[in-house]
């Protein structure tokens, strides 16, 4: 976790000495590259488990229902908390 924070700081510090919007175009392409690469290798990680299809068949529906409930209610609670404790719009 510490390394993740250090990676953000490593990008932040040199950029403070560069002009605003420096290399914006290159950055956007690199960002898309890292995002696609990240998701591709996440897929590789899932696919390399030879029992992934059996696991999906056995516990897939239960797991899917839990995920959907958790996502729906976490979104609902964040909206509720923002409404209750967030800044009031003028």
């Amino acid at each position: 976790m510490l390394y993740y924070i250090l990676a953000v700081i490593a990008g932040l510090i040199p950029s403070l000495f560069l002009p605003e919007g420096y290399l914006g175009h290159v950055r956007r392409h690199l960002f898309t590259f890292s995002l696609v690469g990240l998701l591709f290798f996440m897929g590789v990680n899932l696919g390399k488990d030879p029992h992934i299809l059996e696991k999906l068949a056995d516990y897939g529906l239960t797991s899917f229902i839990i995920s959907v409930f958790v996502i729906v209610f976490s979104v609902a609670f964040v909206l509720l908390f923002v409404r209750l404790f967030g800044k009031k719009e003028c």
């Binding site: 990676a7 953000v8 914006g24 839990i66 909206l79």
Partner: protein
């Protein structure tokens, strides 16, 4: 863009499952994921630094850094509790699985050790599915429910895997709150999961 993201995951899984990728890529998969993550986090830092207005806004004390993670924790546990009424799991087990907050490796290992292999498998799958559904749903949630709501589904993964999607579709401010939520939940998950086992 969303289609490209989905195709990336599916292609990686398909090629790997069918043994169509070089061994070196499959064996060093964890290392490559880390490398991509570091590149992405570096770029997020760089982007923040070259946008002076964004940096000023980021450094301001912000109540949403607490409100959003608190809503995510409460909603996740409540969702897990309600879920036990429609699936064949006790409320405690269902909340324990939900308390993985998308961190599938940790929650699966803990629950398999302390409870049962079956619950470990459900924790693994459920949290993998949460992460995957987050990647697919963030663009829609950001569009129809706003930037704060888009941070919620990712849980603890908003500091790494799902952060780029949040940045892309909900903006830089949401990415910052998402990063803080990820750090907080990664630290809190081991304690929260203990409450239900």
């Amino acid at each position: 863009m969303l289609i490209i993201l989905i195709v990336s995951v599916v292609t990686g899984a398909f090629l790997s499952f069918n043994g169509l990728l070089p061994e070196v890529l499959v064996n060093n998969n964890g290392l490559l994921v880390e490398a991509m993550l570091y590149l992405m986090l570096f770029l997020i830092g760089f982007d923040l630094g070259t946008s002076r207005a964004g940096l000023k806004a980021t450094l301001k004390p912000d109540r949403y850094l607490i409100i959003v993670p608190a809503g995510t924790i409460a909603g996740t546990i409540f969702g897990g509790f309600l879920c036990s009424f429609v699936i064949d799991l006790s409320a405690m087990d269902s909340m324990a699985v939900a308390s993985g907050f998308g961190w599938y490796s940790f929650s699966a290992v803990i629950l398999a050790k302390v409870k049962s292999a079956e619950l470990g498998a459900i924790a693994f799958l459920s949290n993998v599915i949460r992460e995957s559904l987050t990647l697919v749903s963030v663009p829609f949630i950001a569009k129809y429910f706003g930037q704060y709501a888009a941070i919620a589904p990712g849980g603890a993964t908003t500091m790494d895997v799902t952060l780029p999607v949040i940045e892309k579709f909900a903006g830089r401010r949401a990415a910052l709150i998402g990063f803080v939520q990820g750090v907080l939940l990664t630290g809190l998950t081991p304690f929260i999961i203990q409450l239900f086992i």
